[in-house]
């Protein structure tokens, strides 16, 4: 009896090996995707549960269309915007749970921490949420992809367009931490390069709720443009209070990082007329509308660029795993970099050697309330910024991987 059992087990094992022969290099015959995001804090509306949903959608679509011989699983966790929590979780996933890639990672500090762990453990890190440029400059490595946007592209979109349209005098309202300072620095450079002038700036504590003092300083500067180098609730509160104090529309605001979730929460009445740069708008064409409608049916909100980018990055990753026949980081990365990205999110998108995914960005203007015809009809697309112009050129890269 005992021998019989052993024999049948051996046969099953042999059969299983034969069946999966083609994917012999995929560990455990399972690709496991970890979504590490802000599930409950400041960024949970723009990333968070919506990013988890986008990942699920990518996995379902991949399985339905590509019919892979391997299994795909997802795990998710809340990094609470803390670098130590993020890196501990990523390590646990890589070491003990067989996770192949850590994804999303909104908040620069968590992204920088996790990409180091990924490098050490030789796994892939896919970033759809964080904004700062060091990810593909000083801190870059060969297992990280920075997918959706960065502060360079934001500055290059909004600050450039506003300056070129005659907004020459700028005053910055800046969140006093790494992200705000980097956004102010990148934007100032763009303003000056386009013939504008920065007449001053004020650094506000992060987070802040009352901006009246800072706004009055911006008002006293008589600058034409008040650049908001902050994000989330800081930006929305500043915009709301600028209207209250009669600062807008005499002076114009430029939101240097705004998501559609911010515009939604402000309402068009408060946000109208503002320019912003985005990597994705749900109402761009039939393809984006079709995907966004599926997302909306489950989430009851339209996707942000982070959530759409999350779907695209995960799908691109899974296709690369299938094509490479391996879940080993170097092979998957090589495959991802050599394959152009063509889906509803990006046309001819490409991952460069510094890990930057370059794709077209969009300069949009927020509609007036009477121009909005249906729910979430928020933007006029003013300009498509071609991939090559939107992001920092490789020639300027400070990434050690880029041969000079």
């Amino acid at each position: 009896m005992h021998t019989k059992k052993l024999l049948s087990a051996a046969c099953t094992a042999a059969l299983a090996l034969l069946a999966t022969g083609a994917q012999a290099q995929i560990s455990g015959n399972t690709v496991k995707i970890g979504v590490l995001t802000d599930m409950s804090g400041t960024y949970s509306d723009l990333a968070g549960p919506g990013a988890v949903l986008a990942t699920q959608m990518a996995i379902e679509d991949f399985i339905a269309k590509e019919k892979p011989a391997f299994k795909v699983e997802m795990v998710s966790a809340d990094h609470q915007n803390k670098a130590d929590i993020a890196s501990n979780k990523a390590r646990e996933w890589f070491e003990r749970e067989g996770v192949d890639t850590a994804t999303e990672l909104v908040t620069t500090s968590t992204a920088l921490a996790v990409m180091k762990v990924a490098k050490e453990m030789n796994r892939v890190a896919l970033m759809s949420g964080p904004a700062s440029t060091p990810i593909t400059n000083e801190q870059c490595n060969d297992v990280t992809v920075h997918y959706t946007y960065d502060t360079y592209a934001l500055a290059n979109g909004t600050a450039k367009a506003v300056t070129q349209q005659g907004g020459k005098n700028w005053f910055f309202l800046t969140a006093d931490y790494a992200f705000g300072q980097s956004l102010e620095k990148d934007s100032s450079a763009v303003v000056v390069a386009n013939g504008g002038k920065v007449v001053g700036s004020v650094r506000h504590p992060f987070p802040a709720s009352d901006f009246s003092s800072f706004l009055l300083q911006a008002q006293a500067s008589n600058a034409q443009i008040i650049g908001l180098a902050n994000a989330g609730a800081d930006t929305t509160n500043a915009i709301k209070q600028a209207a209250e104090f009669g600062i807008t529309p005499k002076q114009q605001l430029a939101g240097l990082l705004m998501f559609i979730s911010d515009v939604h929460s402000l309402g068009l009445k408060n946000a109208q007329g503002m320019y912003l740069t985005t990597g994705f708008y749900w109402d761009l064409n039939d393809e984006t509308r079709a995907w966004s409608k599926r997302f909306f049916d489950k989430q009851r909100r339209m996707p942000t660029m982070v959530q759409a980018g999350q779907y695209s990055s995960v799908l691109h990753y899974l296709k690369a795993v299938k094509a490479a026949g391996s879940d080993e980081a170097p092979k998957v990365m090589a495959q991802m970099k050599k394959t152009p990205i063509n889906d509803f999110f990006a046309k001819n998108g490409q991952i460069r050697e510094d890990g930057r995914m370059i794709h077209d960005m969009y300069l949009v203007q927020v509609k007036k309330p009477d121009e909005s015809k249906y729910p979430w009809d928020y933007y006029h697309v003013k300009q498509v910024i071609p991939a090559a112009e939107a992001f920092q050129p490789l020639a300027l890269s400070r990434c050690p991987l880029v041969k000079k």
């Binding site: 400041t42 650094r203 009246s212 709301k240």
Partner: protein, 294 residues
């Protein structure tokens, strides 16, 4: 003209802004001071109750079309009633224990309340319009003063001084103060002390909700709005002297002014200046500026 290198117009406007923010601090710290002074509970849920006050106003307007003026009354009543339920079912059991138990319980409640609202409405917040009658502003010469902000100062100060008057100058206030000093004797005089205490907690909570409704047209109505404010308000209470009614009002306004000026001269420090003052006050006068040494 310049004052310390800052144009006088900017200086004047910052003083006014400081006064406006100070009135929020005053009304919130007043609620905390009453609850601590009369119940000995450190009400960490105060920020969440302020947030819920704002949300009730927003829900009343968007779902039921109930306007700001009604909400200004309705929201404190509803949230105050919730406070009464909390006091009857939970806080009451803690009065004989250390302060810490009350603090932990109310902290837990605050997390639960914020979690529920975040789950329902997301984190980005909701916009609440300034009521029509208070739209626009007046040019004061040195600044453009939104009428609504002026109204906030008037309403907050009226409620603060009304409360102070009730506690310090009326018979009901005398019962309250006596009831907390020596409940047995007051009870023996035929006064229902537990009911008085329940009422007090409900009133303190209602003050938080009232501040929430005042805040709704200025800030985004968001689950985190209270959490961001509560630590500063606690510092105000400590500086004023835990439990001191007048102390909380005066320090609330004063610290608002100091914070406003810091934003002109050294904006980066404006988030910590209150705590800096708290440290100094605690070193010099451990019971706070208006507190009685125990």
């Amino acid at each position: 003209m310049e004052i310390f290198g800052v144009p006088s117009a900017l200086f004047g406007s910052q003083l006014l802004i400081g006064l406006i923010n100070g009135s929020f601090y005053a009304i919130l710290s007043l609620g905390l001071a009453i609850i601590f002074g009369l119940l000995n509970i450190i009400n960490f849920a105060h920020g969440a109750q302020y947030m819920m006050g704002a949300f009730v106003a927003w829900i009343a307007l968007t779902k039921f079309g109930i306007n700001y003026w009604v909400a200004l009354l309705l929201s404190p009543i509803l949230i105050g009633a919730l406070g009464v339920v909390l006091e009857r079912t939970m806080l009451r059991k803690l009065y004989k224990l250390d302060h810490l138990y009350g603090l932990l319980l109310t902290f837990g409640l605050a997390l639960i309340f914020e979690g529920v609202f975040r789950d329902q409405y997301g984190i980005s917040g909701q916009a609440y319009e300034v009521p029509d009658a208070l739209k626009g502003g007046v040019n004061l010469g040195f600044m453009f003063m939104p009428i609504y902000r002026g109204w906030v100062v008037v309403a907050a100060l009226a409620v603060c001084f009304g409360t102070w008057f009730m506690i310090e100058k009326t018979k009901l206030g005398a019962y309250l103060r006596a009831g907390t000093e020596n409940p047995q004797i007051v009870q023996a005089l035929g006064i229902n002390v537990p009911l008085l205490i329940t009422f007090t907690y409900g009133y303190g909570v209602a003050l938080a909700a009232f501040a929430g409704v005042l805040a709704a047209p200025i800030y985004q109505v968001s689950p985190q709005m209270g959490a961001n404010l509560i630590i500063v308000v606690f510092a105000v209470v400590v500086i004023g002297g835990m439990g001191s009614i007048m102390g909380s009002i005066v320090t609330g306004l004063g610290l608002g002014l100091i914070e406003g000026l810091t934003r002109v001269f050294y904006p980066e420090a404006s988030a910590v200046v209150v705590f800096f003052i708290m440290v100094i006050v605690l070193l010099v006068r451990p019971a706070g500026l208006f507190g009685k040494a125990a």
